[in-house]
Amino acid sequence: MTHAIAVSRLTKRFGLKTVLRGLDFTAAPGEFVALLGPNGAGKTTFLRILASLSRPTAGKVRIGGASLPQEAAAVRRRLGVVSHQPLLYGDLTAEENLRFFARLYGLHAPARRITEVLELVGLARRRHDLVRTYSRGMQQRLAIARAILHDPEVLLLDEPYTGLDQDASAMLDTVLQEVAAQGRTVVMTSHDLSRVAALASRFDVLARGRIAASASREAIADAQLLDFYRAAIAEEAP
């Protein structure tokens, strides 16, 4: 079984500061990995490297068989990314935003696909509204629509629930479940343990620049997730 994501001995330095130290990570196709960890552990850095936005200082990263950074363009086609910033243009309508990205990704029959994803995230009725009139929750949903527009194999999400209220979070849950059910590989970072507990099939803890612990959903009962997390962090403390 080839991995959807294969990372070995990934190191990332910013100037003299080392953030990721020889990190190893794999994800099988269709897995939903929740990436947990304290602030400053390097989760966002790791995700940015997977997203090809940042170059590794050392180590190997392969996504869907293509290596970063050499085959970055091939990798980008297979990736969808949702960040905690919406990455959308406020002065354009939802539809125009999607049309723009459809053109960047070189999609054929964009109109049909745009309607599809808008319906999936429940924004079809507001497609002609300017994005700056959207609530934060709606923007995140549109961001997900943008991320899956080109039907990527791998979906990366960085703290997507940030700033969402209960209703919006519940909606995001539904959308994510549907999206994940379509067979995509998902890596999501989050601080909200209860949220990810329901969605993920695997839990990895990133602490001090490495994956400190990894456990599949079957191995941990819901209530023990917090303990599992705490134990993983504590191990790494000096």
């Binding site: 363009a73 990314v81 354009l92 723009f100």
Partner: protein, 230 residues
Amino acid sequence: MSSPSPITGLWQATRAIVWKDLTAERRSRELLSAMLVFALLVILSFNFALDLDPKTRGSVASGVLWVTFIFAGTLGLNRSMATEKDRGCLDGLLLAPIDRSAIYFGKAIANLAFMLIVEAIVFPLYSVLYNVNLFLPGLLLTVILGSVGYVAVGTLLSSMAVQARTRDMLLPILLFPVTLPVLIAAVKASAGYLSGLPLEEITPWLNLLVVYDVIFIAIAFMVFDFIVEE
């Protein structure tokens, strides 16, 4: 569902980015109105600062116009990049399977369009205010060549300045000394056309503009990747 080659074509991606910028601007009109109002205020200030009496107006006109364009241009360049950086939209562009140069060309062409629009409005206005005929083909050529050079370097430098804390102050400081040849050549060529100098005296300035444009568009194209990657 996606196109066969891994990278979306340079021209297609550039066009998409230009379309995006123009559409967004058509909607909000923030950039253009700010640049326009600023340009008019600058001309107004010059009017009193330099006491443009009819005799001296002609010779000073090209200088006043170009300083105005350069200042207003800085405004547009800053804002154009700021919208990408502030909402993280630049990441959205970097995630797309496109040649990174498309981002440079797309932004540069959009910036050029905005600058030309402002110039197109300022020209007739200045003509009317000061009873100077500015609609000479040579002059229009100079405006285009000068704006191209200015925007080519400006887009490159604003993509760096936007990452700094002091972004609004930093761009003019980085940009003005490096675009001095554009200012000088454009002013001299414009003045030449306005005072009806023979073509041989004006062509050296136009040549300088063309040389500058070519060199710096080439340089920008080569180094832009180093600016946007992390």
